[in-house]
């Protein structure tokens, strides 16, 4: 009983210190880059980072919390992007935020449909069935040019983001917009993870039979996980297309992207909100840093072929290393580093 009381009390204490840290991160995210950043920082690092973080966050709810492995993330991103485009195009007077939410809802609907097999399939088999989503969505977007408004090539230029009559223009404004969306989605995810539904996710992940016995509605929980996760991933897809690339093409949402998002979750930390951000930061920055370092160290000998190979080798090694040595990902490393740094100041651990 005491154990239960402790567990219930702990989150609230962590929440307060976490809330302070969160507020600090948030304030610096809103204030610092616009003051010091170049367009390169926004266009090549921060915007893809935000979109991928959000996608990672969505997948983490499904895979990290609810334990359902999915390889269809890129497909849900594509659905979100194309649906937002079509709502923006075909519903006159709909504000962009409306298109964004409807895009997310469309992704949620598709996610729900492809989540149905999860009622019967688990683990590896489920991953294979979500692969079907990946192939089907890309095929459908290629096949029916209605989705791209008759654009012969299937690629469309993303329309401008308009908020209350103001056109979101320039990298800084697009960054602030994307940041706001990501913050809202993250708050939602934090609330969800700490709610009864979030605990149901974890119960289903840890032991489905036991969860069923204690009265967790397993089927509903799985479907909710798929829907919520796909919603967030769909919004991430819309951000990817509208705020970052400003073009929408099916080829950008291929299987490689799905794997990329899965790697973000694994490296960042399963079942952790912050993990998605850590993982995305690593995935976005690693290749750029590697190419700069390689160029500086080896000059011309470090050509694109070597770079590509070294990226793959390093990423693969990282994934294996994390899976073996630290399955909780970068988040656990960061927590340990923080604890070590703070130890001198917090002498009596948890007040004895």
């Amino acid at each position: 009983m005491a154990d239960v009381a402790f567990r219930l009390a702990a989150p609230s204490r962590r929440l307060t210190s976490g809330a302070v840290a969160g507020a600090l991160v948030l304030a610096s995210a809103y204030l610092l880059p616009p003051l010091v950043g170049s367009t390169y920082l926004f266009e090549a690092i921060l915007l893809p980072f935000l979109a991928l973080s959000l996608a990672g966050l969505g997948l983490n709810l499904l895979t990290g919390y609810a334990g359902q492995l999915s390889l269809g993330s890129a497909a849900f991103m594509a659905v979100g992007a194309y649906a937002a485009f079509n709502f923006d195009l075909r519903v006159p007077g709909l504000p962009f935020v409306g298109s964004l939410i409807l895009g997310g809802l469309s992704a949620a609907a598709v996610g729900l449909a492809f989540g149905l097999p999860s009622l019967r399939l688990r683990g590896f088999y489920l991953a294979v069935s979500t692969l079907a989503a990946q192939f089907f969505v890309q095929w459908a977007l290629n096949k029916f040019d209605w989705f791209s408004n008759g654009s012969a090539s299937g690629v469309v230029r993303a329309p401008d983001i308009v908020l209350a009559g103001h056109v979101i223009d320039g990298p800084v404004e697009r960054y602030l917009f994307a940041l706001t969306v990501v913050v809202a989605a993250t708050l939602f995810a934090v609330r969800l993870a700490n709610s009864q539904t979030g605990r149901n996710f974890i119960a289903v992940r840890d032991n489905e039979t036991a969860a069923r016995i204690v009265g967790v509605p397993v089927l509903r929980t799985k479907l909710v996980a798929f829907a919520v996760s796909s919603f967030i991933i769909g919004v991430a897809g819309a951000l990817w297309s509208f705020a970052y690339l400003r073009t929408i093409e099916p080829a950008g949402f291929n299987l490689d992207r799905s794997f990329q998002i899965l790697f973000i979750v694994i490296i960042g930390g399963l079942a952790s909100i912050r993990g998605a951000f850590f993982g995305a930061a690593l995935i976005v920055v690693l290749p750029l840093a590697l190419s700069r370092l390689g160029q500086a160290a080896f000059g011309g000998a470090f050509d694109s072929g070597v770079l590509e190979l070294s990226q793959r080798v390093l990423l693969g090694a990282l994934i294996i290393a994390f899976l073996i040595a630290e399955p909780k990902g970068l988040v656990a490393l960061a927590d340990r580093a923080r604890a070590r740094a703070l130890r001198p100041f917090l002498k009596p651990p948890y007040g004895g």
Partner: protein
């Protein structure tokens, strides 16, 4: 003096400083190249040829009228987000002349950005068809051949083989296309030309990457078409030729499009490719004077960009050389108007819009027979490129047709309609080309 004035003065000063720094008189090409990944064959050949030509101009002529050409590369792997990253990384280098990503996807993502930065974007032989209309797309140039012209060129060639456009009536053509944005771009125009000339067209998709085509070729066998047009990319091409051989379809009745026309497309197919015909805007081979000069000046000095010298004069390499010629000549033409110095992107844009190379000028550039001619205007950013057809004899490509003109008159209204729709969607006010050209000629007359 208000703060605004101070800011403006500071801005003017900083502009003056940067232009002083750029006074070294260099013109810079940011290259979004791809040398690894599934499309490396195209990337290494094309960017190799482009760099080889820039090298030739620097070594032989000391640059364009004394302005040195410089470049640096960023790897895109043909992926959009990598292309955008490279764009953002390289765009702040001084003296950017033009962008040449050689990728439809990357080009689409750049249209907004380059229009704002006022730097031309070159999509030679590919790109968005309606960007031909320079009134709506002032900075985008699908030079030589857009996808619709390519389609019309192929149909005109087939008409020639049948003995006249009216003989196409009742014939049956199958288009085997790559299941990608690039592959789909020409679906409506084939349908339209079929209606126009009374032939029957059946368009069959090959899903990316296309290494399994049994089902498609069985359909083709049942359809018994007179010709198959191969609109492929990468591994799809040799597989198509091999599967055609297996199903007994004659290779000389397969016509490849402009991205199915390289040595890398036919060599892996071995015997099955013998007799296969493909369209091209630039002939292959190393006999042309400009290619010979590149061998002499660049490769013999060990500065060549291709690792495998056997690829000199291959289709992609020659395309890169032609692309180099067009970029360099646009700079030269713009220099004649603006002065022999580092030009801004907007000035180079003017150069492209006045890029007129007739057959005599092409011959003077050492490229007679390599490509025909180009005639870009403010309203026509494609420039009426001609096409020719080459046949693979098992060892090399042999030109088997004259220079054929696509049916521009037929295509122009479709392009204008699509561009007008784009202008409405994106709230673009089309330029008045007649007025701009008149202003240009007045300025020229008063200068003389």
């Amino acid at each position: 003096m208000t703060i605004k004035h101070w800011l403006r003065a500071a801005a003017v000063a900083s502009v003056a400083l940067t232009s002083a720094a750029a006074l070294a008189d260099e013109q810079y090409f940011p290259l979004q190249s791809y040398r690894v990944g599934p499309y490396a064959a195209g990337g290494t050949g094309f960017f190799g040829g482009f760099i080889d030509y820039l090298n030739l101009i620097n070594t032989r002529d000391g640059g364009v009228n004394g302005v040195k050409l410089t470049w640096s590369e960023g790897e895109t792997q043909y992926e959009v987000e990598r292309g955008v990253e490279v764009y953002e990384r390289l765009k702040n280098n001084p003296g950017v002349a033009a962008w040449n990503p050689l990728s439809v996807g990357i080009a689409y993502a750049m249209i907004d950005r380059i229009t704002k930065d006022k730097v031309p974007l070159i999509t030679i032989n590919h790109g968005r068809t309606d960007s031909t209309d320079g009134r709506v797309f002032p900075y985008v140039f699908p030079l030589l051949l857009n996808p619709y012209s390519e389609t019309s060129g192929i149909v005109n060639y087939l008409a020639g083989r049948e003995g006249g456009i009216e003989k196409l009536k009742g014939k049956k053509i199958v288009v085997l296309y790559h299941g990608s944005p690039y592959g789909k771009e020409t679906i409506p125009i084939y349908d339209l030309l079929a209606k126009q000339f009374g032939f029957e067209v059946q368009q069959i998709e090959v899903p990316h990457p296309g290494n399994e085509q049994q089902a498609q070729w069985l359909t083709i066998r049942r359809a018994k078409p007179d010709y198959v047009v191969l609109r492929g990319w990468g591994v799809m091409n040799p597989v198509a030729l091999k599967t055609a051989q297996k199903t007994g379809f004659p290779a000389d009745h397969i016509v490849g499009n402009v991205w199915s026309n390289s040595e890398e497309d036919v060599r892996p197919a071995g015997d099955a490719a013998k007799g296969y015909v493909a369209i091209t805007t630039q002939a292959s081979g190393a006999d042309y004077p400009v290619v010979q000069e590149i061998i002499k000046t660049v490769y013999d000095a060990n500065k060549g960009n291709l690792q495998d010298k056997a690829r000199i004069g291959s289709v992609y390499h020659n395309l890169g050389i032609v692309n180099g010629i067009l970029n360099v000549e646009a700079i030269r033409i713009a220099q004649a108007k603006f002065g022999k110095r580092t030009l801004t992107g907007d000035e180079v844009r003017w150069g492209f819009e006045n890029l007129r190379l007739d057959e005599a000028r092409v011959a003077a550039l050492g490229a007679k027979g390599l490509f025909h001619s180009i005639n870009v205007t403010c309203a026509n950013h494609e420039g009426d490129g001609r096409v020719t057809f080459q046949q693979w004899d098992g060892q090399k490509w042999k030109v088997v047709s004259d220079w054929i003109a696509p049916d521009w008159k037929l295509l122009r209204p479709i392009i204008e309609k699509s561009a007008a729709q784009y202008a409405v969607e994106h709230k673009i006010e089309p330029r008045d080309c007649a007025r701009e050209e008149a202003a240009d000629s007045v300025r020229k007359a008063s200068a003389e």
